[in-house]
Symmetry: C2
Subunit: 266 residues, 2 copies
Amino acid sequence: MTSHPFDDAVALEPLGDGRYAGRTHPAYANMVGPFGGITAAVLLRAVELHREVLGSPLSLTVNFAGPVADGPFEVVAEPVRTNRTTQHWSIALTQEGVVATTATAVFGLRRPTWSATETPAPTAPTAETLDRQQLPPAIVWAQNYEMRFVDGLITPGAEHPDSVSTLWMRDSPPRPLTFASFAALCDVYYPRVYLRRGEMSPAGTVSLTIYFHADAAEVSAQGEAHLLGSARAHRFSEGFFDQTAHLWGRDGVLLATTHQLVYFKA
Amino acid sequence: MTSHPFDDAVALEPLGDGRYAGRTHPAYANMVGPFGGITAAVLLRAVELHREVLGSPLSLTVNFAGPVADGPFEVVAEPVRTNRTTQHWSIALTQEGVVATTATAVFGLRRPTWSATETPAPTAPTAETLDRQQLPPAIVWAQNYEMRFVDGLITPGAEHPDSVSTLWMRDSPPRPLTFASFAALCDVYYPRVYLRRGEMSPAGTVSLTIYFHADAAEVSAQGEAHLLGSARAHRFSEGFFDQTAHLWGRDGVLLATTHQLVYFKA
């Protein structure tokens, strides 16, 4: 039995005192450095593996400060403050002492309260009835994700009136969902400017935030099922835009809301 | 001529090496500690005042790790990495050596590119035709904000079918908009759970992210005009919910998109 490439890509060797050794994985390579989603997953793993961790992830913000070079890296995760039900983390990924990525995370304990969901999943055909989208082989990391578009596929050379993409997604080959793989799935949407303009151009995430609505049982209950995601931008201006996405699971449960600020040239 | 209370509240005395001394201001007190928006503004000011700052704010994430006690505090702002067009910051607010708030920020240079706005301002009567909402005197900080609700005012004792509030807002007394006052305005929305349930209950922001779409000229062009904001939640579950808001200025320009994760009891 061989391990899933995702697990190899997020593997961290504890060095003690919240420090870990990791290494970029060729299967998750992007144009420059690794796929941002896999970096987010690695940083989340560093907290999950820490012996002082409290509960499960509530929020994660990852700042892509500079390129991550192919090869080894070090992660340090520090519990900055631990309260009764929440715990605040500061995390950094460095290479040869230079900071490539910074992050903050909030972990915590959930408890039964009044609950409501205001953002239902959009109506969509089942995943099985839709074609799997084959992204260009140059986008190496995307080969690890099964994406079946409901809406908002790029038409090369044609502008699109809005930036909404809705798609079914999961790891490829399928893998039971965990918080870390789920964090990576929050970053699978290509930059919304590609869709609007009908062409690829230099673009990269500057800062990514994930709010985890799902608890451990809800994450586990997804198994290898497809998740439904929908992303859109709000404003593109002077080299930057933001995009927001929602991710729903089985029975339409809203698992996460995620936001990012993206740098672009166009 | 006296200064505006906002300027007094965000005043920082440079101590060198990215360290600053500040003090909570009684006019911006909340139930426990200061209004989160004023803390966000203070942390942004620490970067703006730093001699190495590059350009204007692009994103800010503030993690409210623990209560801020009334009295003096220290802020430290560190430029973690400076690139050609973006600069990543790590910021912390401490009191007697204990971390109360952590933050990361991205500042940078903007440049002309293709641009588009996908999220137009909702249709709303002009601010002048709407009543000013008087919040209870116990919510001290709110007395510094003029709020004129278009929609989504709490009806005590009555549940509300959705969590959308749309309102005109500005400093009171009016003050020309700056990035710092604008950051504070991103946090004026009361917790969405109050609106849904028609009652106040213990609640507090855990993590706040702001994406600044506006450049310095667009911020300056607002002057003392009312801004239009609209906030809503996506999912309330097990003690936490998220809320997203958009903030538009003169001529319907989208100035910011802001998100937060909120702790609640109910």
